[in-house]
Amino acid sequence: MWDYTQAVHEHFLHPRNAGPLADANAVGEVGSLACGDALKLYLKINGQGIIEKAGFETFGCASAIASSSVLTDMVKGMTVDEALKLTNKDIAGALGGLPKEKMHCSVMGQEALEAAIRQWKGEPPVPHAQEEGRLVCKCFGVTDEQIIRAVRENGLKTLEEVTNYTKAGGACGDCRDEIARMLEAEFQRKPLTELKARPSLTNVRRMQLILKIIDEEIRPQLAADGGDIELVDVDGRRVVVALRGRCAQCRSSDVTIRNLVERLLREHVEPDLVVEEA
């Protein structure tokens, strides 16, 4: 069971400003049924740019409903510029905190608010995906801009935290390596474009390391199944190996290459090695 604060329970059981707003002149929508939570935020903004009224409709868990409810309370009376300065941390803070796995609910609130205000200003609704951002997590539609924003605003350090805050990497997992690289780059305070410029090994050192890992880590595992492995060539980041013994006839040899050989070499030698079978 989640350890929700009293404020989360209170806002969940007695949501403020629930329901659509008939005279809204700004609406922000984020999330989807497929994602498991969605928020439609309604704002009534007056001529001075002050948010007079707010309403919401939310499909989601208790923390999603509570985040929406508390957000509508917070923004009432704010100018749009003040509202744009709100972060997901402010929303979570107003609830006395959220479980770390639920932080994405507060992010959803912040994004809906931004979307609504952009609509009111006549700006395109989804700035991240359509303008600067590049789609990283295809399952939940999360861009690199969204990830970096969550990382910076919340001081995120690990892949797990990024998933808790943005959902990115939470389904098929294909983008986890990329998020890890983004975190690493962010940690070293390097711009994203410098991602590839990591210090690299000399050819001799790389080959020595590969041989060592094959001897010490990979060969013993294959031997347990009556197989063996031989290093054929190292060409830049491309490692060519041949499977021997029982592994040579094994129908799952490509699985062995990918899941065992490539995984271990990437882990111990260099993360961008590609292993191929001769």
Binding site: L33, F59, G60, C61, A62, G226, S252, V255
Partner: protein, 384 residues
């Protein structure tokens, strides 16, 4: 506040007669069953008696019963034993609807280079038997199919599937954690080689399980060490819990028939009551072939965790296949395998009964649930 417990597929209450049977083995009779003195020997007889009760529940021989720490240990032992004793065979067949205790072990085997086939299910969660016969090759070491599904309650055609496996020379294991005690199982007429069960699903405490291993089937222990359980599971026997499981099995043997009917009647009343009062909901699973105690209902356009928390205020305990309840970000793998649409899958609620569920408790749920769904739908952005 009174608790209305509708989460018996998660765990069950320890039966009073089980607790009573256990207590002497937590106090006076603390001897080690392996000891040479009669003080330990008396405890050893209690373990053997419990073994006989479990065997009787399954239609097995006592020497085919191995006590373990839980269903998960039984599953892991069965799978690893089958693969290690047949190193020449490289294929493992299981289903996409398995419990993680099997599914994650299968995925581990896949990473070790095994060829693992995950049988798909249709929209009602039924296994594709033609696909099964197609993938059942001569190099299949093991078929591991759950007897009944924990989420939707489907009972799978284990008799037929085990017979097909035997014809092909493959070992057959079934994770029967949810089925034992709820549906009759007679292993004397079923070519199942290994079966897992768990005590806490049949009113014994948590922390005790059983692996049935058919006589003559080659076996490798998972836990090595002492000679306990005839060298098949090392470690000093968890005597009080074994005695408790024996008592639970004994009770189940005597009551399974009447209980099935009584529990199914209440389950049906609950399900009908909800379907009549709440629009836009569907029953997940194969209603013709499922456990008598389980119903899994999906409510359109609302989210499961929110439903559970509101039910919690009325003292009602249930569970959900929604993403939010699991701590993962996706709805249950079973509902996804079945292709349940997202607008229903996130709003699925499992209600599971037991012999202790009363008609008044069922009425309470029927009374409270419609208001909860209505309140959540009122604030949902999805209305159609």
């Amino acid at each position: 506040m009174k608790t209305f417990y509708f989460d018996n597929n998660a765990t069950t209450a320890v039966a009073p007669e089980v607790l009573e049977a256990m207590l002497p083995y937590l106090s006076d009779f603390y001897g080690n069953p392996s000891s040479m003195h009669s003080f330990g020997g008396r405890v050893g007889s209690a373990v053997e008696q419990a073994r006989a009760h479990v065997a009787a529940l399954l239609g097995a021989e006592p020497e085919e019963i191995i006590f373990t720490s839980c269903g998960t240990e039984s599953d892991s032992t069965a799978i690893h034993s089958a693969l290690q004793t047949q190193p020449e065979k490289r294929r493992l067949i299981t289903t996409r609807a398995e419990h993680p205790a099997v599914l994650n072990v299968a995925q581990y085997c896949e990473r070790q280079g095994y060829h693992v086939v995950y049988l798909g299910v249709d929209s009602k969660g039924r296994l594709d038997q033609d696909e099964y016969l197609r993938v059942l090759t001569d190099d299949t070491a093991l078929v591991s199919i759950m007897f009944a599904n924990n989420e939707v309650g489907n009972i799978y055609p284990i008799q037929r599937m085990a017979e097909a496996a035997r014809e092909r020379g493959a070992l057959f294991h079934t994770d029967a954690v949810q089925a034992v005690g709820k549906t009759p199982i007679d292993l004397s007429h079923m070519p199942v080689d290994m079966l897992s069960l768990s005590g806490h699903k049949i009113h014994a405490p948590k922390g005790i399980g059983v692996l049935y291993a058919r006589k003559g089937v080659r076996f490798r222990p998972f836990l090595r060490g002492g000679h306990q359980e005839h060298g098949r599971r090392a470690g000093t026997e968890n005597v009080p819990y074994i005695v408790g499981l024996g008592a639970a099995a004994r009770f189940a043997v005597g009551h399974i028939q009447e209980e099935r009917i009584a529990v199914a009647r209440l389950r049906d009343k609950l399900e009908q009551g909800i379907l009549e009062r709440v629009p836009d909901c569907i029953v997940n699973g194969d209603v013709e072939n499922r456990l008598p105690n389980t119903t899994n209902i999906a409510f359109k356009n609302v989210e499961g965790e929110a439903i559970l928390l509101m039910l919690d205020r009325f003292g009602i305990c249930a569970s959900s296949g929604s993403a939010c309840t699991s701590g993962s970000l996706e709805p249950s793998h079973v509902l996804r395998a079945m292709g349940v649409p997202f607008n229903y899958a996130h709003g699925s609620v499992r209600l599971s009964l037991s012999r202790y569920t009363t008609e008044e408790e069922v009425d309470h749920v029927i009374e409270c649930l419609p208001g909860v769904i209505e309140a959540l739908r009122a604030i949902s952005p999805y209305k159609d």
